[in-house]
Amino acid sequence: MIDIVLVLEWTKSSDLELTMEFMNTVYALASKNKFVRIGIILFGKEPIPLLDLGEPDVFSDTINVIRNIPLLQHPAEPSLAITEAVDMLEDLSEPISTRRIIFTVASFSSRPKIRLEDALLYLRSVGNLNHYLFTTSNRRPRWISNDVAREINILRKGAIAKYLRKII
């Protein structure tokens, strides 16, 4: 079993088309595997859980709904959304028999109040989790430590499947 939580920035700073492409690509890959469950958390200043871990079909319906959701308040706080994703995985998935993945897609365009590094420390202490960071911006953020910045993948239109195939 693979449990995936998508943590997606939904503000005026994020590239929504790229974010939608990311979701559609995850769906395309996940729908081929009946052992994949997906959850979604959107975030701006606050995280909003949209979909608890479930089958890819439910995820597909939700993608269509997301298009109509108004932009969330700026500036984005990815750390709060990531800890919300941990809650979802901890509550709804079985760490022993499940591969647990969090994909965070964000612009990282402004320095959040709560440091990203704090959320990453929390992830490390929870354990049994793989976390991947993606940015919809053209460059990695400068406000973040080099170690974390190196972990951030820059999303390119049309190249998302290449990234995700290695992981899912």
Partner: protein
């Protein structure tokens, strides 16, 4: 039995000030005291203790799931900083209980605060959630706090069968923390 302790630390603006010999500010003094306990519990003694951490100001968030890894505790302590205005201790309690609901053993939250509660879920209401999750609240307040905050603290510890202390000096903070943790771990 494993004893799980989450330190819930106030990182609001007022913690930037010093109080008596709690210098250079209250937050640094609290950090030193928690480090002292972590060294005692995780390195010097082989007690079955796991330490976690969460912080609150106008918001609250987790820093560490209960762990026996002193390196992780040290890493979390090194990240403590003044976060900003507002004080939402009830939100901090809820975050701490969420961390603890997935672990086995005894569950205690030690909150260290200087009061000024003005945001989020009321502390006495959050205490009901803690009690229902078998989490005990122990609250250390620093210096003189408002009567309304003191009332909430008393209600919260009463609800969870916990205890509260007031400290004014570094020695008091260290000794109270040591006493609390020794009582928890037997």
């Amino acid at each position: 039995m494993v004893h799980n302790i989450v330190f819930l630390l106030d990182t609001s603006l007022s913690m930037r000030k010093s109080h008596n010999d709690l210098t250079p500010n209250k937050l640094v003094a609290v950090r030193d005291a928690v480090d002292y306990i972590a060294v005692k519990m995780l390195k010097e003694k082989s007690k079955p203790v796991k330490l976690g951490m969460a912080v609150f100001f106008g918001k609250a968030y987790p820093l560490l799931c209960p762990t026996r890894d002193y390196g992780l505790v040290l890493d979390a302590l090194s990240r403590l900083r003044i976060m900003g205005e507002g004080s939402a201790p009830g939100d901090g309690v809820v975050v701490s209980v969420k961390i603890l609901r997935r672990v086995y053993g005894s569950k205690d939250v030690i909150m260290i605060t200087d009061g000024g509660f003005n945001m989020g879920i009321p502390l006495d209401v959050a205490a009901i959630y803690a009690k229902n999750s078998s989490v005990r609240l122990i609250i250390i307040s620093i210096g003189k706090i408002k009567d309304s905050d003191a009332f909430l603290i008393e209600e919260a510890v009463k609800t969870t069968n916990g205890v509260s202390y007031s400290v004014d000096t570094k020695a008091e903070l260290f000794s109270k923390l040591k006493k609390i943790v020794e009582e928890i771990t037997g």
